[in-house]
């Protein structure tokens, strides 16, 4: 089934792509007709009266009525009936919106300035949303900083991601997004952040793909394993992994890698560059080119997990701690190492000693995942 969703656009709405979208369109078109009816009613009567009763010399209508209780009650009661009718219809579908079917796939959505991070039950993470066709999916949203919202127009749904609160959203996609036969481009659905969240709000968009089981599993396995090259199935060098994480974890929002100054210090040449701090854990703490690797490693790690600890001169404490986003992942240590590796690679080449790819396999848990076809099992949190 190849669907070119864009081709099916209508004047008012894009084609529906989920069960809730079909319901929505039903209600919307019904409303549209009623609205159009009343609008034209009002405007037609108005124009007719203006023409019929325009001011003419010597003409008066002294007998015109000044009230008519029956009429007035009628035009109170009829609209009342109509709006209550719509409220009831709306209620019916609303109950549907609020009741996710049992057994829906669960995807955790973590919104932050300014990206979405989707976490699947196999531990995979991605910035794009992968969905299974004809399977209900339940999104559990939360936010790391300010309020965001996830909106997928093709599904006609949105829900805020509120810091400190969990919200839910479910839908059942019904139409596949396919490759465009002409251009070979993969089609996708728009995903927007609709709650204003700061500078990058307008660009806080991503794509959703509605896939067959086969494609879906492939995508998730890929996403689950950022440490393996998807073509050759060989372990990737740390530096490559770090490069990916730089984008997916959102570091790129503030840290540049080309020396451009942004909200936060550029990573270019950061490693073994002299540092002054406006605030640090111990008084007088500085970093020098000459400091040993250990001190630098500690610093880099601390800056990722507890960015508020040391603040580089001339910068503000704006970075959120990555502790939570890393600790949710089964690969915390490896990811951390990969990012640090990437930062080091951007420093002065004379200090950069590439870590061996082999190390990837030697580190603890994720090893199994890296090699097996099956995505790693759900990692239970302690105490659960």
């Amino acid at each position: 089934m190849i669907s070119s969703l864009l081709a099916q656009r209508t004047f008012w709405l894009d084609p529906p792509a989920s069960t809730s979208a079909e319901n929505h369109d039903l209600v919307f078109y019904a409303l549209l007709y009623v609205m159009a009816f009343f609008f034209f009613l009002v405007v037609t009567i108005m124009l007719a009266f203006v023409v019929l009763y325009r001011r003419r010399k010597g003409q008066t209508h002294d007998n015109a009525p000044t009230h008519n209780t029956l009429l007035e009650i009628l035009w109170t009661v009829i609209p009342l009936g109509i709006v209550i009718g719509f409220f009831v219809i709306g209620l019916k579908y609303y109950v549907d919106i609020e009741s996710p079917p049992a057994g829906a796939d669960v995807v955790d959505v973590e919104a932050s300035q300014w990206q979405f991070n989707f976490k699947y039950s196999n531990g995979a993470e991605s910035n794009e949303l992968y969905l299974l066709v004809d399977r209900p999916v339940l999104l559990k949203l939360t936010s790391k900083d300010v309020t965001h919202a996830l909106y997928i127009p093709a599904f006609r749904v949105q829900r805020n991601a509120v810091p400190g609160q969990n919200t839910e959203l479910w839908f059942k996609p019904t139409v596949l997004t396919a490759k465009d036969p002409a251009t070979g481009e993969e089609e996708s659905l728009h995903v927007f952040c609709t709650q204003y969240c700061g500078n990058g709000h307008a660009e806080m968009t991503t794509k959703a793909f509605v896939l067959t089981r086969e494609d879906y599993d492939k995508k998730l396995a890929e996403a689950a394993n950022i440490f393996v090259d998807k073509n050759s199935n060989q372990p990737l060098p740390y530096i490559e992994v770090g490069k990916k994480l730089y984008i997916t974890m959102g570091c790129s929002q503030c840290h540049s890698i080309d020396g451009a100054q942004g909200t936060a210090p550029t990573w270019k040449g950061l490693y073994k560059r002299d540092h002054e701090f406006s605030k640090s854990t111990e008084a007088g703490y500085t970093l020098k080119e000459s400091d040993d690797d250990k001190k630098w490693d500690d610093y880099l790690q601390r800056s990722i997990l507890h960015p508020e600890a040391d603040i580089v001169q001339d910068f503000q404490n704006v970075m959120p701690s990555q502790e939570s986003s890393l600790s949710g992942s089964p690969y915390k240590e490896k990811k951390l190492a990969a990012i640090i590796e990437y930062i080091k690679s951007l420093g002065d080449p004379k200090y950069y000693k590439p870590m061996k790819t082999q190390d990837l396999h030697n580190s603890e848990k994720p090893q199994a995942a890296a090699n097996s076809e099956q995505p790693p099992a759900v990692k239970k949190k302690e105490g659960q």
Partner: protein, 561 residues
Amino acid sequence: MIAKSQDNDNYLTHSSGISSWIFTLDHKRIGVMYLISVLVAFLLGGLFAMLIRLQLLTPTGLLFHKTDVLKDLIVYKPYNQIFTVHGAVMIFLVLIPGIPGALGNFVLPIMLGAKDVAFPRLNLWSYYLYVCGMLFALSSLVLGAVDTGWTFYTPYSVQTSTAVISVVFGAFLLGFSSIFTGLNFIVTIHKLRPRGMTWFRMPLFCWGLYATALIQILATPVLAITLLLLILERMFHLGIFDPAYGGSSLLFQHFFWFYSHPAVYIMILPAMGIMSEVIATFSRREIFGYRFVAMSSIAIALIGFFVWGHHMFPNGQSGPANVIFSGLTVLVAIPSAIKVFNWLATLYKGSIDLKTPMMYALGFFFMFSIGGLTGLPLAILPTNFHVHDTYFVVAHFHYVMFGGTLFMFIGGIHYWWPKITGRMYNESLGRLCCLLELLAFNLTFFPQFILGLHGMPRRSAVYYPEFQYLHVLSTIGAFIQMAAFMVIGAYLLHSLFRGKKAPANPWGGSTLEWSCSSPPPHDNFKETPIVGRPYDHHGLEWDEKTEGFERKEKELVPHAV
């Protein structure tokens, strides 16, 4: 004093010098000062709107976009500041104080045959607070214009580096200005009505202002405390609204909308009052179903207090709350429907004169119907989940606020212009601009409904190319609007110097303000008049000599109603 008052002594010439204006207690002068300030604010808000439209001309942003050098997302910040300032100026500085402050102050006491509002000194204070609030709010333009959206949602408003405090404090002062105006009007209406004017003989503009004042008094204090807490939140991290300190951002939203939803009725109710006046005058008819129209204002004001949650349907509000708010919201549409139908019925068998104010009133029918009716899909839950925070909402509120309130504000200015300034403006230009305005307005905002339905989020500096053609239409419309407004401004200014002298009653209005000279004398009426039915057009006939309407058969004895 009586002997001194000559025919040409009016409130404008009564005394002179700057301080005679700054320290005036005359409600008419205060009204005029309000009018000028509000129009200046409107110009400012309009200019910011033009910047919005320019930016949205191209998908990557015409004014603020990423370049090879500047890739940081901070390039969009100016856009975010612009729409925030646009929204905040239009709402807090133009629409909320606009009709009550400018036209209400001028007209209300005269309509009641009173010499002034109940507390003239408080009235002046309201104006001062307005000016201070305006200065504070605008000072943020220098200190770092706010980029939170006019809704100031936490925690972003706690986090941003812009000058939130000065704007919020400005809005706080504006809130008090609004409270004092409302308080003044309620007491004036209760205590200063002339003999013979029972509640149901009040002109409907007074009813509109009365309902507005009720909201101003009951809702604005909550805004005040909300804004105060927001300021404290920013200064001391009080934690009530900031999740990072254990508070709840939803709580802020509840507080904010508890005021700001009623506030939209603060904006529309006086406009509806003007609508009633204009329709009655230009169709020479008593308003059809006067009591229904009057009581529906009160109904809107009261029900309007219980629907605020409809701004937060997908925001994490609980299911039952959503249902209740949705149900109440559809109810609040009913009194508006009653009004619309009653106005329509007033046209029936009237003697309709398409003067400029009447053109605006007809435009109101057109646009408020669209704006109000599109409130329905917003109020019904499943449809709200699609269009919430998209351009559909933007289109909805411009239709009601611009097409509804602002249209009647401009219409009201045209209606009372002869009374306020004593001059007539160019009638054909007036009609032409109104028509142009109507067309351009629809060109600007109708495409935004479609944008919204296709999923274009609001408050976005950039967008996908597929939305572009609709944005281009919208921008074209906006520029035509600006041109039309400039012409309106020009002929109104021109009339001040070259306009024909206005007669006491140029339109055939039947309410009290048309029975005193234009412009009115300092004390409005030498003796408190005795009044009968409102909208009694009997005996009001065109007089060639004065080029105005004159009451031919005096009717001093009040009718039995």
